[in-house]
Amino acid sequence: MQILSKTNKSILSAMVRSDFKLRYQNSILGYLWSLLRPLLLSVILYIVFVKFLRISGDIRHYASYLLLGIMCWTFFIEITMGGVSAVVGKGDLIRKISIPRYLTVVSTSASALINFGLNFVVLLGIMLVTGVEVQVKYLILVPFLLIQLYALSLAIAFILAAAYVKYRDVSFIWEVFTQMLFYLTPIIYPVSLVVQRYPMGKYIMLNPLAQIIQHLRYILVTPQSQTAWQVLGWTALVPILSVPVICIIAVKYFRSESKSFAENV
């Protein structure tokens, strides 16, 4: 995918601006809602799973631990769910002009990026107040992990967006699949809980999302977070390398499908 030209940049920013205006013009708290979502979700999950069900293990700084996981998850969901209808939702544009098709998908990811950034600031505040064990020597890896997360989310969004043009079942399937994925990803429960109880449990770390979240937690919150390397050894390369592979598949699939978007959408 080519680097954004000046024209494409202004198209992208115009699309993002109008999407924002459209989404928040009729709600009183407006933009604050989408910002509050991961925080509120974290509070609920914290109460249910930590206070009532007591499955936090003995993870220190569990509030930050949970919030970071939820933030990454919300980011992934926002981009992929937005991706499903990204092309179809911009059908009237696609049918009329030849703007690069990938801009529609990228533009829907913009709000997720902004939300993630702002939530990250909130998280930093909580981390400062509650105190966390940052692994300073690995801090340099954080940007790479975030890029990995964005690339993975965007790649899946591209695949879903292109598939949804042809198959309208995609939105339902993805909705159900993400419900399942939420519980398959170690977001609310510690990895150790699964690994100790089930011999096959360690394979939940094959999920690239789990690999990213656990690494981020390890570096930013507590070294108690078990990473893919610790659980899987060299097999940890599978979830890491799966991201570029998924990206290549996504680009190829989206490119070949985008030729017929205008007539199928």
């Binding site: 013009q25 002009i97 309208r168 017929s260 007539e263």
Partner: protein, 413 residues
């Protein structure tokens, strides 16, 4: 039309092809839009794929042409002939199934006004959105904003949501953004169909200005007046295929003929007469067949060259022995009756042929229609009437000939 040749030559650079379309076909797949995975599965596993394929269709078949720099290039054809599909392929919206399209220069598709307009956004927001989609940066739009608003005469409405604009206001706004697009090639589809007459006048003024600037414009319309006024060359598309590239005058005639041909599906007399738009009469005498001869030779497509000898042969079935009068009327594409020769009383025995000969026909190149009417000798009862039933194409060099007929005169100084 009275184009000055020098002006045309300077504006068009025939050495530079800016749009090159070669062998382009477009196939639309069956059941476009909503498909389910179940359908995909069943069609994947079933051997009978033919049934699905039949639902698709060719919107365009093997079309090729070139547009020169600075040219005002028209595309005409009836609804569904494939011209909009062609324009969308030039714009890069559709990908050709076969063939290739090469373009040189920045293209702004004017295919529909107000692309991206959203009813829930204010007029101002829509200006910036639409502007970005037409290739402007936000800064450029800010600089132009006041001009756009004042050209559209909507100064007091820009903070109102677009859904509260009248359709005329929306078009005005969209148009005043679109005309600012800086492009080498402009693709225009049916813009003139919307808006009132003062808006159309504005459009014409803009086109005149753009033409003078030497911009390349590809123009689709059903308005033959606009075609004749602006276009240098015109591509006629008939039923997914290119019929050819013509001068605006020729194209107008052919387009008119295509419309007449397809508008009428009844009264099929013969291949030569084509589809008669309307036929009436008491039926005692009926025309069976019409054939056109040029210079004594059968002319299959009713084509005759200006200045040649024309013969129209007609054969009849008669239930009466009375004398009849046969009347012909030659009309041009505008319905102007150019000539109307009537026969004297003809005594007709069954199935006899009658012919009408005209030497050195003076009709200027173009399409004509011949009406044939058969009356009794007193011209009271009409036995058979075939309104505009025979098309006649007159070919030849129309260079330096204006008007309806060629007087074959000589200039001397």
């Amino acid at each position: 039309m009275y184009k000055t040749m020098t002006e045309t030559k300077e504006r068009i650079d025939k050495t530079k092809v800016v749009i090159s379309v070669s062998g382009v076909s477009k196939y639309f797949s069956p059941s476009k839009g909503q498909r389910s995975i179940k359908q995909a599965f069943t069609s994947f596993f079933s051997s009978k794929k033919d049934s699905a394929v039949k639902d698709g269709y060719w919107a365009l078949k093997d079309v090729g042409f070139e547009v020169y720099k600075g040219e005002f290039f028209g595309i005409v054809g009836r609804n569904g002939s494939g011209k909009s599909t062609l324009l969308k392929m030039i714009a890069g919206v559709y990908t050709p199934t076969k063939g290739s399209i090469d373009t040189d220069g920045k293209i702004v598709p004017f295919i529909e006004l107000g692309v991206g307009f959203n009813a829930e956004l204010t007029g101002k927001d829509n200006v910036f959105l639409n502007g970005a989609l037409l290739g402007f940066t936000r800064k450029e739009m800010m600089d132009m904003y006041d001009d756009i608003v004042s050209f559209a005469e909507l100064q007091d409405h820009m903070d109102i949501k677009l859904k509260n604009f009248s359709s005329g206001m929306q078009v005005r706004l969209a148009f005043s953004i679109a005309i600012r697009a800086k492009s080498d090639i402009l693709l225009v589809d049916e813009v003139l169909a919307v808006g009132d007459s003062s808006f159309q006048k504005k459009c014409f003024e803009i086109f005149t200005a753009l033409k003078k600037e030497g911009r390349t414009i590809v123009f689709i319309t059903h308005d033959m007046t606009a075609i004749e006024r602006f276009c240098d060359r015109v591509l006629v598309i008939d039923k997914t295929k290119a019929r050819g590239i013509y001068t605006p005058n020729e194209a107008g005639a052919i387009y008119d003929h295509l419309n007449a041909k397809y508008n009428t599906e009844e009264n099929d007399i013969s291949e030569v007469t084509g589809k008669a738009p309307s036929r009436w009469g008491s039926g005692e005498v009926r025309l069976d067949k019409v054939t056109v001869f040029s210079e004594g030779k059968l002319s299959k497509n009713n084509v005759v060259e200006m200045g040649e000898d024309l013969e129209i042969r007609m054969s009849f079935t008669a239930k009466t022995t009375k004398k009849i009068v046969i009347g012909l009327a030659f009309e041009d594409i505008f319905g102007v009756n150019i000539a109307g020769p009537n026969s004297i009383g003809v005594n007709l025995s069954s199935k006899e042929a009658v012919s009408y000969k005209a030497n050195n026909i003076p009709l200027v190149p173009g399409e004509y229609k011949v009406t044939i009417a058969i009356y009794d000798q007193d011209i009271i009862n009409e036995y058979d009437h075939l309104e505009k039933s025979v098309k006649l194409t007159v070919t030849g060099k129309s260079h330096n000939i204006y008007g309806k007929v060629n007087l074959f005169g000589k200039w001397s100084i």
